[in-house]
């Protein structure tokens, strides 16, 4: 038991909204906004499981990979309180639709196993990380492909901007919920505060995704 319980694991906080942080109206709003996407995604993965059972383990490993990234202790990476999410990578490999369910599973496990995020804020977090992020990444990847941009740059931009968009959406969610009448100003405030950690992390996410893609095409 010791070997598992005391892995050098620590919390590294990404841009997840903590349990109970949002007022009830916004918890409800984002949960409802997210629900149709989740239903669509579950329908899609149900069909995919039936179509090709191999997809099941592919999705599982995507989810497990994203979770593991978030629970890894990286020694002495000073100033980092965040981590890459692997969502952009997933979106490029399996498409954005299954990533919505995969992202939700990851968020659920993060909330329950590493107290990162929450249940009442699951809707809000999933909307930014599992819906907008993968959609942006996938859209950019496909869009840039049509424009004839080279693979490496496409992958980088897709992952980088996808990760940034997740953080932008979270800032907007927080801004709207705590605006006190000044929505734009408050959103800008949150964007500014979290920029310090999120921009380097998004860069790392972009780089990581490029490296993985190179390794995959080598192998």
């Amino acid at each position: 038991m010791s070997s598992i319980a005391f892995l050098p694991i620590q919390l590294s906080y990404g841009m997840h909204i903590a349990e109970g942080f949002l007022p009830q109206i916004w918890s409800l709003f984002w949960s409802i906004a997210f629900l149709p996407f989740l239903i669509l995604s579950i329908r899609y993965i149900t069909k995919q499981f039936r179509l090709n059972p191999k997809n099941r383990m592919l999705y599982v490993l995507m989810a497990a990979f994203a979770f593991t990234l978030s629970s890894l202790k990286i020694p002495s990476l000073a100033g980092s309180c965040s981590h890459p999410t692997g969502m952009g990578l997933g979106a490029i490999i399996v498409g954005p639709l299954p990533m919505m369910a995969i992202g939700t599973v990851v968020l659920l496990l993060q909330a329950l196993l590493i107290a990162h995020g929450g249940l009442t804020t699951l809707g809000a977090n999933a909307f930014s990380m599992a819906v907008v992020g993968p959609l942006v990444s996938f859209g950019l990847y496909k869009g840039l492909e049509k424009m004839g941009v080279s693979q490496k740059i496409r992958v980088f931009i897709a992952a980088f901007v996808g990760s940034l968009s997740t953080y932008l959406v979270t800032s907007i969610q927080l801004g709207i919920a705590f605006s006190g009448g000044n929505i734009i100003e408050t959103v800008v405030k949150f964007i500014g505060v979290f920029m310090v950690t999120q921009v380097p992390i998004s860069l790392a996410e972009g780089l990581l995704t490029v490296v993985v893609f190179n390794l995959m095409s080598d192998a």
Binding site: M1, S2, A5, F6, S76, L215, D218, A219
Partner: protein, 274 residues
Amino acid sequence: MIACQGVSYHYERTKKGIENVEFDTSEGNIIGIIGENGAGKSTLFKCLLGLYKPQEGQITYKDKPISYSRKGLVELRQHVNMVLQDPERQLFYNGIFDEIAMGPRNIGKTEPEVKQIVDQCIKMIHGEDFLLTPVQYLSFGQKKRVSLAGILALSCDVLLLDEPETGLDPMMQREMITIIRQLAEEGKKVILSSHNMELIYDVCDTVYVMHQGTIISKGPTDEIMEQTHIMKKAGLERPLMIKAAEAMGIKPHTLAMKMKTVNRKESIDTEEKS
């Protein structure tokens, strides 16, 4: 060179760990650590590497207590380092050169120095033949040797090997033994943990027996491994060689000498045929 004085380390919740461990490398160049799974072998290794800080006792390198500052640990690990059991989990690059060069590069060696170090390490692991093969096409045994070379590149003088023979077929095991012996001859201390009693009996000068976090016995390998009650207590079995000698009513040493003749004859036979 490296030694433990009364070292205890307990994991927070399970209270397991190691208790009052005395360990030193003064006797013998190849030192074996044996015990069941969970007896504390890897906890001890992690303490020796400064990965865990003992709650009691101290660890000394060349008679000085080790420092747990970032700088102190980097210093320590240039002298004391470990090869993990599973090579798959310690190879990061596609090219063997880059893989072996990783450690030296990280501590800021210049490229000509790196080149020299890598060449040397390749020689030590007898890896000249496959130097240019991408890592993913290597056999398990070759990967294991490359991961050893990656640590040798740090030119440390104490080398911890975690189950160096696991997963190797008999020929590769023999090659690994040859390499271990060579390292010891060059003056390095090799500390190895293993479940293979024959291997330990074959290569180790000294052996430490662990059981439930404590060292229940230490001494010259042949003396310790002959003692049924110690081995039984530790959940181990005496090496076949010793049992066979007992069955025949002779000394294990005598059998070992006779076996050497057999082995020598065998290799001569094979050479003649080929």
